[in-house]
């Protein structure tokens, strides 16, 4: 399941966009482990992540901002954040947003 099956809005989206250093340096394994851990957090609704050679964009969805904040403070995730700043990222942005509307391809009037 690559696209998240989120419930009716409102809910919280955390948009994490980053540029990377060259090479993997254990990044892929840590990213997979963080996705696995996030999915066990209370209030987790889903995640969508794409990475190419230039940039990674990961959006995680949460029941509310408190659930997103709890995930930010989970110990293993804090370690990953620090390692990220030291080894993996040349820059990143985190944006916390409230989703208030959504639609899917199947909602389109010309969808067959």
């Amino acid at each position: 399941m690559l696209l998240a099956r989120t419930p009716e809005p409102p809910y919280t989206a955390v948009i994490f966009s980053s540029t990377r250093t060259d090479g993997d340096h254990g990044y892929a394994a840590m990213a997979a482990e963080m996705e696995r851990l996030a999915a066990q957090q209370p209030g987790y609704l889903g995640i969508e992540a794409a990475r190419d050679e230039h940039i990674a964009v990961t959006v995680s969805y949460w029941r509310d901002e408190a659930a997103a904040r709890d995930w930010k403070h989970v110990a293993a995730h804090v370690v990953a954040q620090r390692r990220g700043r030291e080894h993996w990222y040349t820059d990143y942005r985190v944006r916390i947003a409230t989703v208030h509307r959504q639609y899917a391809m199947s909602d389109s009037p010309d969808f067959v």
Copy 2:
């Protein structure tokens, strides 16, 4: 510039996540043209897009929801949306959100 230099929140984020059909079918050229056109729209603040073999996640940032809606209705973009449903996407989600907090790697207490 791969990461968007967005102003102080609040502003609007449009999170567009999609899964793709195999092959390009003119997708890359159209995506580049849409990014070029979007940047000319009033209220455009930036875009962050990553694509891998499984999924594409594109987040565009707008001054407000009206600016995002205007872009949705620009004629060339409407054509691209229809072609997308016909040729490129196996599924997609669009989520409209209000960003109310942001920070960057350089804001971290252990950033050196």
